[in-house]
């Protein structure tokens, strides 16, 4: 029997591709213990990291694509390990060096993004269609806010309610905002997590160039994924604009008394922290402040909330991949919300909304619970 022997070359490549912190893992297993996947299926994070440490990665393994980059393990790692970087490095070796096979649906989505600027493969010129019938103007250098809807909230027939609610609120408050429509391209956040570094670089550079040329100073986003990459990754590539998530803006306007509620929304609402707003960017309080301010809303909490929130399963490129029924974190989370007796599961991320909408449908819970963006609830109360 031939034994596997540690492969220094492979490990060096992984280190070079961004897994610098790979070495400091001491295999305590905390990551596996906190990984939400293990609520619905087996997923041994420690094993993958240790395989990477020894250069013994099986690049054909489908589990290389499982991590939703929710960051639960990163928050808890006693060594300050960056598990997500390790996953990213492995995926880069597969997608950019051809060491294994990229799952079909992911490959197609990334291809679509690279060619058309959106994962759905929709025409760029249709990007502004969601706003039809609304008075949403095109951004000019004189416009104060650029509203940047995520590809999903721009194109998805259901999720676009998120963008619509946002535009309606801005309109009602008389705020000066505009969109860039077909000039907008996918932010690339998930593309990067899925190992598509080159595509990400190209998307980011294009977006930065567009924004700069258009004179964008302040960007309002609905997606925590856009927020994350605009705020934390784009500046390294030369971006110089302010980025604000809708929940942050609503909270600020409330405080400034510019946003006032006049109608009651008598609902029991549970708020689901998006990983990229919460754990990745430490925004926990603003969405809650907004929800609490809505007359009639009874805000309840998940047992696992804020830092311990359970991922919907949509990050890290997972949103473009199939997850078998029975292994869907969003189903698990939805059940949790229903058990709490919530009328509304409030979200603040288009990925979460897409996933939960799907869960409601496939689990047949349409009469039990509604999925709403925080902005939708705000709009109802104005």
């Amino acid at each position: 029997m031939t034994l596997a022997t540690p492969d220094k070359e492979t490990m060096d490549i992984l280190l070079e591709l961004g897994g610098e912190k790979l070495k400091i893992c001491y295999q305590c297993g905390t990551c596996t213990g906190v990984c939400p996947w293990n609520l619905v299926r087996d997923f041994n994070v420690r094993k993958i990291v240790h395989q990477a440490q020894l250069g013994l990665v099986d690049f054909e393994d489908e589990d290389n694509w499982t991590c939703a980059t929710c960051g639960a393990c990163v928050k808890r790692c006693p060594r300050g390990g960056e598990t997500i970087d390790v996953m990213k490095a492995i995926r880069k070796v597969v997608s950019e060096m051809g060491a294994g096979k990229v799952p079909d649906s992911l490959r197609i989505s990334i291809k679509n993004i690279a060619s058309l600027g959106n994962p759905q493969g929709e025409a760029p010129e249709k990007r502004a269609d969601w706003a039809q019938g609304r008075d949403v103007k095109t951004f000019t250098p004189q416009t104060e806010w650029l509203y940047f809807p995520c590809c999903i909230s721009a194109y998805d027939a259901k999720v676009k309610r998120m963008a619509l609610a946002t535009a309606d609120i801005l309109g009602k408050l008389g705020m000066d905002f505009g969109i860039l429509g077909e000039k907008e391209k996918c932010c690339g956040e998930s593309v990067r997590k899925a190992g598509g570094e080159e595509t990400f670089q190209s998307l980011a550079n294009t977006n930065i160039q567009t924004f700069t040329e258009s004179g964008v100073k302040k960007v309002l986003v609905s997606s925590p994924h856009c927020y994350h990459t605009f705020k934390n990754e784009y500046p390294e590539l030369g971006a110089e604009f302010e980025v604000v998530h809708t929940t942050q803006l609503w909270a600020q306007l409330l405080e400034e008394k510019k946003l006032n509620f006049s109608r009651e929304v008598k609902k029991k609402v549970v708020y689901h922290d998006p990983c990229y707003l919460g754990r990745h960017n430490d925004i926990y309080d603003e969405p809650r402040r907004v929800l609490e301010a809505i007359p009639g809303v009874e805000l309840i909490e998940f047992e696992d909330s804020k830092q311990n929130a359970i991922c919907c399963g949509g990050g890290g490129g997972r949103i473009w991949m199939d997850t078998p029924k029975g292994e869907r974190l969003c189903d698990w989370r939805l059940e949790q919300a229903i058990e709490l007796g919530a009328d509304v599961l409030a979200v603040a991320c288009p990925y979460c909304m897409l996933n939960f909408d799907d869960s409601v449908l496939t689990l047949g819970k349409e009469d039990t619970i509604e999925i709403k963006d925080v902005s939708e609830l705000v709009l109802e109360a104005i």
Partner: protein, 742 residues
């Protein structure tokens, strides 16, 4: 000395509200005819303290204070050594743990005062044992520990003699290429610094160094040891106050590790051999001199393995981390594999572990080594990797076994256990297994002329028995302190701390001895055992049972006490069937008098009486804590504190039972492998002796349930009420002592 008693009853801390203090006073004034008996509402206040001080000025020489626990307000209630003090615990043991204004509580308080008075009448001031004490400290072993102890003791102003067996000082540290970081930020390897330490020792005028020397004989006792040192065929006689044994360790015998290829493949070496290789420049493998490109370290080579060393040797993980850097620093292309069970890098050494992990060429994997083979010009280590779920193979030019250490005290043969087993016809191994201590004496180092044996008693892994929970430096020979790797496996930084501590203990010993005080743990105690030799029957119980080898013996088997070796536990007093061993404030007679002072109600009153002998070290303070927490228990128990459960003389049991006491409960410290007994063997001995009491009970036609022995640690105070209440239930079931109305 004529006794002049003064009794002072405090009414504070709710004592006055709970008891009829006038009636309590009458115990002193009417029953015991004490002339001076005063009650004060706040005895520990300025006025109360002055009240007592004034009476002492006027001639009171025995003060009985009935107030709080003797553990409380010690600074206020402390007097000249000529004044006898007896504290009666009315607060924690009476009013805080029993129903106020109750007949039974009142009886309890009165009994405690009777017992205190009975004792006070028989206690006399200590007359300290004072001989000419030499304060020179002998250090045996010239490694990092021994040298540190020597330097620290000398710096504190003491003369030191340092004896080292080998021709030069330095020990194992001088054989190292480098040491792992000992200073923040714990990133870089350091020089060992051993040369500077040797110079410091050799340059210190207070330290007299004997290298190439051994101890031929050690006789005497702390403060007056006579040590014969042999050096180059010459003998030097030294007068020594206390001794530090820092005789170090030896590496575990790697020839026992043939399953890891040692002895079979020349390129399998030990971590100690790796130091030698590193000192020679480039690291070349022994078989053909090729510069190594890959090295595998096998951690726990023999350690934490029941077949080899069952314990962790504590430094080997760090040593391999350090040696990994030897490899990568000397050859930047080389790879290192560290195969471990668990990496153990305590405290700040974690930072060094992290630093080595970050080294790109160093791989770590947890796993069990299955085997090692040779082929293709290198060795292959087969690892059953517990984390990947599959076996992996590591190809290496050199395999380093991280072997552990064996203390140099490891006995060569089972002297004591063998002798015992032979006489009882038992198998030697079983005898060794049964004994809480190994039953072995350390291999030769000190050559003690003690009746009990020639070296320190050892524990099961060959380390000298020390009170590892509470008093780690103390061996079972007063004034002899073990330190460094002979005491426990430790790294050089810990050795340095440890050796400094041992130096302080050695100093404490000579200072205490010079004042005629016990060294440890009863550091205030100036009493010592007094033997009434006319009645000695040479039964040897005291000489055998003293855990500290205090007694030597003459040719007629008479015990010869060495008071400076004594810890004042009074285990000998408990052992003596002739009851000839006494202390000024603690004797068979004193406790018997206390027992007899307890009023035993007649049978039809249905008020049973139980005596509780509580160890002063844990059980008695635990009962105080129970009182502080207002835990309640039945009022029929009368507590008598004892220095150690081992000091309980069986005659007290007979005295109590014949007086009509219904039951006796004894509560001491945990014994066995993880013993907590301050006197190591006392609690265990008491348990053993009480088994023998069964015979006495049968002779008296009494039930064996009347006696219980318990083990309790101080933190288990909350268990005491139940222990007492359950025992009273047992007594009620068994019925009253038939001797009650005699």
């Amino acid at each position: 000395m004529d006794k002049k008693l003064g009794v002072y009853i405090c009414g504070g801390c709710s004592i006055g509200d709970s008891l009829d203090l006038d009636k309590v006073s009458e115990v002193a004034t009417k029953e015991y005819k004490v002339e001076i008996c005063k009650t004060h509402p706040f005895l520990c206040g300025k006025e109360g303290a002055q009240l007592i001080a004034k009476d002492i000025e006027d001639g009171v020489n025995t003060v009985v204070i009935a107030a709080c626990s003797p553990r409380a307000q010690q600074e206020i209630f402390s007097y000249d050594s000529g004044v006898v003090l007896e504290r009666v615990n009315l607060r924690e043991h009476v009013v805080w743990s029993h129903t106020p204004q109750d007949e039974n509580t009142q009886m309890l308080a009165e009994d405690y005062l009777r017992m205190g008075l009975a004792k006070a009448q028989k206690v006399f001031p200590a007359e300290p044992y004072q001989e000419a004490i030499d304060k020179t400290i002998l250090v045996v072993g010239g490694g990092i520990s021994g040298m540190t102890s020597a330097v620290e003791a000398a710096k504190a102003g003491y003369e030191v003699c340092l004896v080292e067996k080998s021709p030069s000082l330095g020990g194992w540290m001088s054989k190292l290429y480098k040491q792992y970081p000992k200073h923040p930020p714990y990133q870089q390897l350091e020089d060992t610094g051993i040369e500077a330490k040797i110079k410091e020792v050799e340059g210190n005028p207070r330290i007299k160094v004997f290298t190439g020397a051994e101890i031929e004989k050690t006789s005497g006792a702390p403060g007056m040891f006579d040590v014969l040192v042999k050096q180059n065929g010459n003998q030097t006689s030294l007068r020594i106050g206390s001794i530090i044994q820092a005789t170090g360790f030896r590496p575990y015998e790697a020839n026992n590790l043939d399953h890891l290829g040692f002895g079979k493949y020349p390129d399998v070496i030990t971590n100690f051999q790796m130091e030698e290789l590193a000192q020679q420049g480039k690291i070349k493998r022994p078989s053909d001199g090729k510069e190594v490109e890959s090295v595998a370290f096998i951690q726990c080579a023999g350690q934490r393995d029941e077949n080899h060393l069952p314990y962790c040797s504590s430094f080997c993980c760090l040593t391999s981390l350090k040696q990994a850097l030897y490899v990568t620093e000397k050859n930047t292309d080389a790879s290192v594999y560290i195969l471990y069970k668990d990496i153990r890098t305590p405290a700040q050494y974690e930072d060094f572990y992290k630093r080595v992990q970050e080294e790109q060429a160093v791989f770590f994997t947890k796993g069990e080594v299955e085997g090692i083979s040779e082929g293709g010009g290198c060795l292959t280590v087969e690892v059953e990797d517990t984390l990947l779920g599959e076996k992996i193979g590591i190809n290496a030019d050199l395999v380093v076994l991280a072997v552990g250490i064996v203390p140099n005290s490891m006995p060569e043969e089972a002297k004591k256990a063998t002798a015992e087993a032979e006489s009882s016809g038992e198998k030697c191994e079983e005898a060794a297994e049964r004994a809480a201590d190994s039953g072995f004496y350390a291999s030769p180092a000190l050559q003690l002329k003690y009746r009990q044996g020639p070296e320190l008693p050892t524990l099961k892994y060959g380390f000298p028995d020390s009170h590892f929970i509470c008093f780690p430096y103390e061996t079972r020979r007063t004034g002899i302190y073990s330190t460094g790797c002979v005491r426990q496996p430790e790294d050089s930084a810990t050795c340095i701390d440890d050796a400094t501590g041992a130096a302080l203990k050695a100093i404490q010993c000579v200072e205490q001895s010079s004042k005629g005080m016990a060294v440890h743990p009863r550091t205030w105690d100036q009493t010592y055992p007094d033997l009434f030799m006319q009645r000695c029957t040479q039964c040897k119980r005291c000489t055998e049972e003293c855990p500290f080898g205090m007694y030597d013996e003459d040719e007629k088997f008479n015990p010869l006490p060495n008071p400076t070796r004594c810890r004042r536990c009074a285990i000998c007093m408990g052992s003596c069937p002739e009851r000839i061993i006494s202390f000024k404030d603690y004797s068979v007679d004193i406790i018997s008098s206390m027992l007899k002072a307890v009023e035993v109600p007649e049978e039809d009153e249905e008020k049973p009486r139980v005596i509780a002998f509580l160890c002063e070290n844990d059980a008695y303070p635990a009962l105080d804590v129970a009182g502080i927490n207002r835990l309640t228990y039945n009022p029929y128990v009368r507590v008598i504190p004892v220095r150690c459960l081992g000091s309980i003389n069986i005659v007290w049991i007979a005295d109590a039972l014949s007086k009509g006491i219904d039951g006796i409960i004894m509560i001491g410290c945990n014994y066995g492998d993880d013993y907590q007994c301050h006197f190591i063997k006392g609690s265990e001995l008491a348990n053993y002796r009480m088994e023998k009491v069964q015979e006495t009970l049968q002779r008296l036609v009494l039930e064996s349930e009347r006696i219980e022995v318990w083990q309790l640690s101080i933190s288990e105070y909350d268990k005491l009420p139940k222990i007492f209440d359950d025992f009273l239930e047992t007594i009620e079931r068994v019925g009253p002592n038939p001797y009650k109305d005699f």
